[in-house]
Amino acid sequence: MDRGLRQADLAREAGISPSYLNLIEHNKRRIGGKLLNDIARALGVEAQSLADGAESALVDALGAAAARLPEAQPELARAEEVASRFPGWTGLIAAQDRRIGALEARLTALADRMAHDPALAASLHEVISSVTAIRSTAAILAGDEGLDSDWRQRFHRNLHGDSERLAESSQALVRYLEDADSDRAAPLSAQEELAAFLSAEGWHLPALEGPEPAAPETVIERAKSLRSRAGRALAARWLARYREDAAALPVAALEAALGSAPSDLAELATALGADLPRVLRRIACLPERPGTGPYGLAICDGAGAVTLLKPVADFTLPFTTGACPLWPLFEALSRPGQPIRAEAELPGVPGARFLCHAVAHVAPPARFGAPPVLEATMLVQPWSGAAMVETRPVGPGCHICPRTECAARREPSLLS
């Protein structure tokens, strides 16, 4: 009745009784055919949107919320009835569920920073050092009546200096935490800095493509967002690799090969004369076009630390460590050279399924007597098609994963 049409008027226009219309509105009668068309015409909307529209979306939202917390055991069979009778409450549940999803993603990012961020460690060290000096100096001043005036002045001066330092360091800490709490948080690690730069460029860098690609240094010089020395060093390494990949696998050739809908990326790599990690990296960095992608990408080292990450849809991994070990990326590390294709599903987010292609290789050069330097690469594609292989459950990281019985759990979940 959002259009200002009274129920009785609508019933009359549709040729039914108000009480029958009431039953329909409360989802106690299903309608179709002519009656659906008549009501849609009276309301001035498409019949299909009336059938599949708001209520259907609300039912889906209830299903999503239920999947996030299955132990609450909501009555799924009555979701349609709830959405129909209480659209306002259903909307609220849906909005809160979306909010929880966003907060979980934020929590993952913050937990990663708190555990591994050198900037935060340095900031806290500065605060504690100031507090230590103040406490010790103040105790001397308060407890020593016979302190001569020179020492007393000196300690007063120190106290003043340390209190100013404490004020500055605590303000810096607050600024840091406020920034970290903002969606506009500045990247803090070199890996985040590189990922932010590549994300802003869309991950496809035309300057490094084609017969006369630019030097990586030229691209870095123009990149204002690459501020830290470490960030620029990582960028130099990635861009040099990108340039080599682009020369070996030009966009046109790769797109043509993908256009024939290959069923096996390993075979496609063989046909293109390229190694599989390179093919995975190149697919992830193709320009986005209708009908292809989007693709995510993750690269990790032999210790499982993520060194490069292109998130896609709900797929993300924490940098450094703490990721769910069930992602095919990490399984690949145990079988270098063996490609792994698997579907992965995140908990609590309906439709968060991904087709993953992963492979690990020994990074050249090989050296006698030296341990192999392993690197794993995983291409990630949001997947809504029929299952091609068995779907494996993965998680967002143990601390916020609801899969309490997971054999790979390394710490209790905050959600349990």
Partner: protein, 125 residues
């Protein structure tokens, strides 16, 4: 002869406060602010005990402690570590390396004095 404490720390006002309370208690306090050359300083000053910060320029307190314990002449030298990092893993590492006492910042002056006296003995008559 006054007993000697070598304080290896790079925060000037912490140095000043600790030096004051130890000097007043009868200790001779030597100060060194650099991690890289700290080991040479220990060998040259032959202190009765060392107070060692963890985060130092040039070399960490953990590395200095490891090298001290590897030297037979200094393997038994009492070493008290001071750190703003009170995490269990840091304490475990210090204990594995042979620290005599591990103290987290911020500490109280009385706490420092008590442990210096306990580790190096009283300062004499």
């Amino acid at each position: 002869m006054a007993r000697r404490v070598l304080l290896i720390e790079d925060e000037p006002n912490i140095i000043e406060a600790i030096s004051f309370i130890l000097s007043r208690d009868g200790w001779t306090v030597h100060i060194h602010e650099d991690g890289e050359t700290a080991l040479d300083k220990v060998r040259a000053s032959l202190p009765d005990m060392v107070i060692l910060d963890v985060m130092l320029p040039g070399k960490s307190g953990f590395d200095i402690l490891r090298e001290l314990r590897a030297d037979p002449e200094m393997a038994e030298l009492p070493v008290m570590m001071l750190t703003a990092r009170g995490q269990t893993k840091d304490r475990d590492l210090a204990e594995r390396l042979g620290v005599s006492h591990f103290m987290t910042k911020p500490f109280s002056n009385a706490e420092v004095l008590d442990h210096v006296r306990a580790l190096a003995g009283p300062t004499g008559p």
